[in-house]
Structures are given as structure tokens and as C-alpha cells.
Symmetry: none
DNA sequence: CATGAATGAGTATTCATTCAT
DNA sequence: AATGAATGAATACTCATTCAT
């Protein structure tokens, strides 16, 4: 009898899948870097490929066009659950401050502001991308925040109120101080006094809507 | 042969200056149209020249590079005094609502949102432009609004308060509803109920800071 | 585990050879389809491999280059004896008409016109292919036709004459009506009245050379 | 008074037109050479531009795509009146032989066979080009030849007959000997004995249709 | 002063062929 | 033996900017 290891085929496939996924990840990382540095139009596919240590042809095996590659970079940024593990057994003030600080750190550390810049620039030529990003980065976050606030109301920690509007009041001023400036200055860092200002904002909020 | 009176050298010069200025204006108008339509990178200088009915060489006589041309387009958008002629002899609510509505109409009618999109996109490669735009379209407006609010305080119509913060509270939520969505969707129109919402925002403001 | 009987080494080899030949045939068929559809330069080796359900590497095991693969496709088209089984116990007119109709149906049904187009295109870069095709599709056919005509002369059904020239007179006008147009229009079908025209041509021929 | 020469503008325009037309001609000539040498797909626009001593951008100013450039090359080949100045006061034989020899020399000297090869190759992807070429190089020539034959009939030098068919009989065998081989061999020259064979063909023709 | 033709560097994308497993 | 991922060279086309007239 000749024995042919069945596993060998599977082993090869697994190996290939592993290599392939590693390359895909490498391309995505490089693309993110280059797009963030140069913007969509200026970014050169060849640069991304070089940075990712693959040939342009390999890049095109994974992503069928520059446009699709950028869309994948954007989608990749959605995949984070920002508010997981927030302690809910503290005061309403602490909870809301924590949520907002989470959001701000995510926005700065993950360079979401820079990504926003590029997506915004491409809105006329890639409107779907703009809609997706708005849904995932604006609407979705307000939905999460509303849910938290609704729970606080349910538990009697806040007066019942129009949470759709109220969370946007909160978010509006936070963005005014920490997001708008970052859109207009590439190297903006989150200021040290951010939490102090956020706390003041939350206190005003509690003045209006606290139990 | 064309005959040109020698005596009117100054007249000739004036004529020439006039023609030159007309061309400059024509170039600026065309550039604005094309940049707003195509974005910075995609916009073609040749398209702008054709649209302005001048040769590319003439365009380059007036603006030494594409970048400078775009900067001029942006600067051109600053030159409007939005709050001139606002009636001040009415209630605080009316005044503030009127100011905000002026701002919103200016933002939509003059296509400032589209311009913002492009400037934001170019922030990494043209940081000065980003700073200028932030100064002229964000900071300057808040300064104007603060001045108005300060006068209302002086006249006893509002409680004394931190106007720097307060106007950003106002502006933040207004942008949240009417500017952010417009950044992410090219064809956004100012909704009909804008004034109703603005009025509610202002009333909340007066709850906090009304005399 | 897969179990393979050791004793049947020859059986295994035969099996392998069979599989291999099946793959070769599959590649040839796919290559023919793709080359005919896209022409030589536009045809993609990857497309052919996919269509043949083999990997590109396997394809290259069988054919060492795209060029050689195409040459094999062309050679494959030679391997038909078009005039087998033509009845020879009828009149000269019937025989010659039948031969020409065979040729025309072969030319259209087997898509030889499309193949000719591609070979002709590649003549400057693959001159040998052009020579081969001329030998196999032009010269060989005239040789066959001449042999038939010679037999008719031998049997006293035609006057002795210069058959080399005469068959080209016949072939020339037939091609003029049915082959040239097909070279210049990809979707040309053999017209219904083809046989009627062929018959007239043959009668003229018999006017000149009939017994 | 200052005098401004009106002519200067026109002079400039004339100068420019001249330069422009010279470049256009240079591009067409280079394109013809390269296309004939390499075929359509293999021909590189950059090669053509280099050969024509212009930049690729200039080439694209004159011809908006590779396809259009090739179409222009083909159209350029139509613009010759092959049968002008043929003596008509000689025998029918001489006239017809002269016409056919003109055609053959035109076909070889102007490298129409090579052009045909490329057009034929592109028929599936550029069907209009194929139709045009067939109309201009096949149908048009038969029309011209028919007209000449019709005049010979009118002048009693030939029997009345179906000239549409008869000229194709003539043309068919001439192509069989001198055009088909040239399609399959790039370097084919017109053989020295061409006229002798043409004369025999014409004599057979006169056997059938002479007065 | 004004022109528009000309440029050359650059870009996204494709494809025949090879190679590690 | 068979795979399919990887390659690198090639290609059509674009565009900001300059320059001869």
C-alpha cells in the first residue's frame, strides 16, 4: 500500500491561507499609513505595495482597485466596540464622562480624524463611503450613547428627556472643542485638559437633565 | 491695422488693468466651480482655463500654481460680512436665531460646506490653508457671535456668563444637525424645519443663560 | 488516508496518463475558445486555465508558452480529412460542387475563418505559423482538389488542362464571395444561396475544361 | 499712433497650424511604421511617439486614443486614386492587364497587405474598421474595375455579360496568386513573372467574354 | 501681454511566467 | 504531479507647468 497523507493537502491550504491573510493585513496596514499621509488621490498604489512588501500584482489580487482598497481601510476602522467594559455602577456623571473620553481617545489614537478628512474629501466621487462613515462613526455612536443615557433614566439617575437631542447637545460641544480643530490641523493632539472640559460639559448636561 | 491713440497712454493702461482684473475674476469664478465640482486633485488646470476663457499661460500669469489658485479661491470666500444689518432692537431670542440662520444660509448658499470638504482634504499638504480657514470660518464667526452675546449681556438681556464656552455650545449642536451631515453628503439641502430646531436650541440656551 | 493498490503500478501510470491527456485536451479546447473570442494578444492565459479547470502551472506543464499553446490550437485544426467519403460515381459537376461545399462548411462550422484572422495577425511575430497554416489550409486543399480533378481527367470526364491553375481559378472566386467577406466581418454566416453560386462557378469551369 | 500689425496674429496662427500639421503627419507616419511592424496590440504608443519625435502627450492632443490613431492610419491609406491616367485607347487586354498591375503594385508598394493583416486581426474588437476597409479596398476597387469593363462593353470591345461576377472571377484568381500568399508571409515581394500570369488570366477572361 | 502647443514625469492596472509548498 | 499565490515589467493615458512665437 502507498499511504498518501490526507493532511498534506489541508496543510498546504492552511499554510496558504495563513500567508495570504498575513499579506492582506500587511497591505491594509500599509494602505492605511499611506492614505493617511497622502490622502486618497495623492496616494500611489505602488507606494502602498512597496510599503507592504508585496508586488502591485499581489495587491490587486487582494483588492480589485484602489477605490476598493480604500473602502476596506475605512471598513476596518469600524470594527471596534468602543464602549465595552464601561463601569455602570458609578454616578451618571462618571459614566457619561467615561464614555466621552473613550470616544475622544479612540478618535485620536486610532487616527479617525485623519480618516474622516479623506472620506470627506471623497464624498462627491464616493458618496456611499460618506454615507457609511456617517452611519458608522456618527449615527452609531449616538445610538450607543443614547442607549446608555436611556438606561440611566430607567434607573432614575436622570430625568426623562429627549435623548436624541440631548446626546447631540453633548456631542456637539465636545466635537467643537476636540474634533473640528483636529480636522483643520493634521498634527493636533488631544489636549491635557480635555477631561476637565468634558466634565464641565457633562455637569451642564446634568443641570438640565439630572434627576 | 488697429489704431490706438498715443495720447491716452494712461487710458490704455487703465483699460488693460480692467481687462486683466476681469480675467482674474473670471479665472477665480471658473476655478471655484471646477474645484467644487471635482475636488482639488481631480480638478484640471486646463479645464479651469477653458471655463474662464483664457489660456493656461494667462492663468499662470495671475496665479503661479494650482495650489495658489486654490488658496485664492478659498480667501475669496472669506470676504463676506455675514451679520451685517441684523436688527438688534428685538428680543434676545430673535437676535440669536437670526444670527444662526444667517450663518446656515451662508454655509449652504455659498457652498461653504463643499469648500470645507476640499480644504479639509488638503490639510496634510497645505496646513496653512487649514489654519486660515479655521480662523476665518470658525474662530471669526464665534468672535462675532460672542460680541453680539456680550452686547446682550451688557444690555441686561442675558445673565453674565462664559460666552466663549456658551457660543460653542450653541454652535456645536447647530453644526451637529446641519453641518456634519452636509460634510458627508454632497447634495444635502438645508431642511425646511431648520429654523424650528434652531429656535429650540436658542430657548435651551436662554434657559441656562437668560436674564 | 487514500489507499492505492501497489500491484497496479502500470494501472496507476495508465490512469495518470489518461488524466493528463484529458487535461491537455481540456486546455486545448479552452484555449481555442478564448483565442477565437479574444484574439491572440488579448487572450489571457489565466482565463484559459480557469476555463479548462486547471491551474496555470499545469497549463505550463503541457505547453511551455502562450505562443506554443496557440500553435497547438492551430495544428489541431489541421487534423481533419475534409474530402473523405465524397461520392465519385456521379457527374464531374456534382463531384466538384460537393468538394467545394465541403470546404465551405468546414470553413464556417469549424470557425476556420476566425482562426485564420488570428494567424494572419501574428504573421510578423510568428512567421512559421503563417507558413504552416498556408501549407495546411491553402496548398494542401488545392493539392486534394487537384488530385480529384486529375482523376476526372484520367477518367475522361474533363479535358486535360493545367489543373494547378484551374483549381485556383475555382478557389479564387469561391473565396472572393465566401471567405474574404468573412475575414472582415466576425459574425458572417454562410449564405443560403451559396450552393447555387458555387454551381454556376463550376459550370463556367466546365465550359472551359469540360470533356 | 502706435501701429499693431494685424498680420502678426495671423502669422502666428499660420505658423502654429503648419507646425501642428507637420507633427500630425509625423505621428501618422511613425504610427504606420510601428503598427505595420508590431501589429495593433503589440504596438506601444510610447514607441510611436518616440519615432515621431513628439511626446506622448502631444500625440494624444492629435489623436485621442490608440484606437483612433490606428483608424486614422487606415483611413490615410484609402486616399489614393489607383486607376487615374490609365490609357483607354489600347486593346481590352492591355487595359485590363494595366488595371490589375496597378492594383498589385499599389497593394505591395503601399504595404496594404500588412495593413489588411492588422485590420483583419482587429475585426472582432473593431468591426466598423473591418467594414470600412472591405468597402474601401474590396468593394470600391471592384466598382472601379466594373466601370472600366462596362465601358469596354459599351465600346463593343467585350460581349455584354454579368460584370459583377466576371470581375470577381478575375480578382479572385489574381488574389489567389498574389494576395493570399502575402497575407501569410510578411516579407512577400511581388514576383517578377506577375505580369505574365496576369496576362494569361486576362486572356482566359477574354476567351469567355471577348467580343 | 497672450497664446496654445509641447512636455516628461507620473498613475492605475494587466499579464505571462515562476516557485514554494 | 499539481497548485495558486507572487512577481515585475509593461502600457495607455493624464496633467501641472513652460516656452517659442
Amino acid at each position: 500500500m502507498m499511504l498518501v497523507a490526507e493532511g498534506s493537502k489541508l496543510g498546504l491550504e492552511n499554510y496558504r491561507r495563513g500567508v495570504s491573510e498575513a499579506k492582506r493585513a500587511s497591505i491594509l496596514r500599509a494602505a492605511r499609513d499611506i492614505f493617511l499621509r497622502d490622502g486618497y488621490s495623492r496616494a500611489a498604489v505602488a507606494d502602498i505595495a512597496r510599503d507592504a512588501d508585496v508586488s502591485t500584482a499581489t495587491l490587486y489580487k487582494h483588492f480589485s482597485s484602489k477605490e476598493e482598497l480604500f473602502a476596506a481601510v475605512v471598513r476596518d476602522a469600524y470594527l471596534v466596540d468602543e464602549y465595552q467594559g464601561i463601569a455602570e455602577d458609578v454616578s451618571a456623571e462618571e459614566i457619561i464622562v467615561a464614555v466621552i473620553m473613550r470616544y475622544l481617545h479612540s478618535q485620536y489614537d486610532r487616527r479617525i480624524n485623519a480618516l474622516l478628512r479623506i472620506v470627506i474629501a471623497e464624498v462627491p466621487s464616493a458618496p456611499q463611503l460618506g454615507r457609511d462613515m456617517f452611519d458608522n462613526f456618527v449615527t452609531a455612536r449616538y445610538r450607543d450613547l443614547s442607549a446608555i443615557v436611556d438606561r440611566l433614566i430607567a434607573r432614575g439617575k436622570l430625568k426623562p428627556h429627549d435623548t436624541h437631542y440631548a446626546v447631540r447637545l453633548l456631542g456637539g460641544i465636545v466635537k467643537e472643542y476636540f474634533v473640528w480643530p483636529a480636522l483643520f490641523a493634521a498634527d493636533k493632539k488631544l489636549p491635557d485638559n480635555a477631561e476637565a472640559l468634558v466634565r464641565q460639559v457633562v455637569r451642564d448636561y446634568l443641570t438640565l437633565y439630572g434627576a
